[in-house]
Symmetry: C2
Subunit: 379 residues, 2 copies
Amino acid sequence: MTQADPAGPSWITAAVRALPPYKGPTQLADFPSGSRIHALHLNECPYPPSPRVVAAIAAAAGQINRYPDIPARALAAALAARTGVPPSCIVFGTGSDELIHLICEVALRGGDRVVVPAPTFPRYAMSGRILGAEVTRVRIEAAGANDAAGLVAAIDGRTRVVFCCTPNPPSGGMMDAAALERLARGTPDDVLLAVDEAYYEFGRHAGGPDAAEVLRSRRGAWVVLRTFSKAYGLAALRVGYALCGSEEVAGALRKIKLQYNVTSLGQVAALAALSDEAHLRTTLDNTARERQRLADGMTRLGLKPLPSAANFVSAEAPMAASSCMTELQKRRVLIRDWRDPDYPNHIRVTVGLPDDTDAVIAALGGVLAARAAPLQARA
Amino acid sequence: MTQADPAGPSWITAAVRALPPYKGPTQLADFPSGSRIHALHLNECPYPPSPRVVAAIAAAAGQINRYPDIPARALAAALAARTGVPPSCIVFGTGSDELIHLICEVALRGGDRVVVPAPTFPRYAMSGRILGAEVTRVRIEAAGANDAAGLVAAIDGRTRVVFCCTPNPPSGGMMDAAALERLARGTPDDVLLAVDEAYYEFGRHAGGPDAAEVLRSRRGAWVVLRTFSKAYGLAALRVGYALCGSEEVAGALRKIKLQYNVTSLGQVAALAALSDEAHLRTTLDNTARERQRLADGMTRLGLKPLPSAANFVSAEAPMAASSCMTELQKRRVLIRDWRDPDYPNHIRVTVGLPDDTDAVIAALGGVLAARAAPLQARA
């Protein structure tokens, strides 16, 4: 059971009653249609999908009256060929979000403990709490990467799962192979080590390691999560996958997953996206270029952007991040605060198109200047 | 905790360790491509989707780099207009399967109890077991509908959720409004009553009630589940929805659901499907006609088909259902056994196209004749 036990109907578990009401991000549908909004708050890919993806979807649309292929055979085979992980150890999810939840559900019950970086993708802690587990937060390193030694040190006898995320949102920092190796060795065999590589393709492009490759030498249970939502630009289709360290791990996830989760259009789209390597390369090259422009622009505004290996850049603002976000939204630019009490002034900006970079830097300059002005007036 | 506690790694919960390994149904991808297989085992719609659906998918395919709209505003508004349930009380899922699991997750912990019909859609019991709850099975009526009085009588002080399914798979029986009313009145206010209407459109076409309409007068918590996978023919896109009796129920589901679950293509497809009422009517008319032909064919073979208000027909075979299924599969016809120890000889056949009806009756005739022959020879 989690801490408090607020009032609420008795048919709802105490763990769920203790959760705050859901509050989602601003979305484009919140604005009048036709408004030009710079949506730099969800770490989406700003580029439309490969034409091969669009063609594959059109070709499959007439057969959607049949349920999707359960093991997603064609897609699993393509990923197996690229990763060396056999199809029997690849499990698909409605985005990697679903796989995070399945991992928690396989492992966590009331009184168990899950170790998570802080800050990081909020779903790890959320899924842990839904299941009544206690969440141990381990602060990320100053440069923004997950702290391997800290994660290992936080494991105790009640810990069943350790989550790690690299490159890590919202900071952007990436672990090197040696750090992943230390984490893999330091995590006891009877604790599941889950490494989320949602930003894997960006990380590799920036010279980072392949976590699945590093974890292969681990004796205990492990899983690496990846997604088609980010670099492949298929966010709307919800396709994530788990590379499992053993059939035992994969089998446990399959026991509890919904029989049908990833759609057939998601499966054909992901397969087509994998086949268009030139499209991915262009996305990665463009993202690296705009990421640099975005960081340079922030630096010119007096901020100190954190090093990022992903499709976003974070920095501490000289004001509350929530105010900064609100002021930018008035200027039709959406960004995100870190949503972490330890980092009240940190903002995260997604790498977009060139005109998005120009727009956010101009708007941010305006917001910072407007804030500085009254201070100067007072001086 | 569930009964046994078999060996397995200690990071996996006892409840999940106790579950059998996943074993899915035969799928078309199991056969050489190009084989003509009569797939009458998954209660799929045999008709391709409305041309409006295909057009809507094509129109949206170029924007799938953006995450789906979280509340599925356009689709929620269209469903609200049809059902009278406000958008704030409509929650979407990756098929109604996901909503079933969310309901269990909101309500059930180890030691709690969930009441389910038997036999019925297996996911209710499965989700209950994953969460460590005890499952109380209540046998369906002889004619195949859920037994309202039996479900009510099975509720005890540890019961948090009662599932009901109408029309009920695999039997096909449907509750009338009076039976639903008795269930709604008999279920205590502090127990969530979940009525699964996955086959709602077929049931209405057959003259059945609207459960959401009946449950409106219930004071306690309730939810009605529906899907676009069956009559609307969008099985591959995984779109289900929950009509919730209150914002409290909807809010609890929203607290724990994945932020992004239903895809954007699923949302536009479902909206387009709703708009094409003529397409739905043709599907329902054709299904009713072929259902009658299928039942008549079974009767001619000496079986006694159960009355069905859905897109499948069940009957007791004069042999083990699993053998019948295997023999039919050799003849390229896929059907399903009831997967329930109390009904070892019952088979379920999905209503397909006219040539599917002809094929399954011919094949079933062959299987039954082949079985009868040696018996006669021995006489």
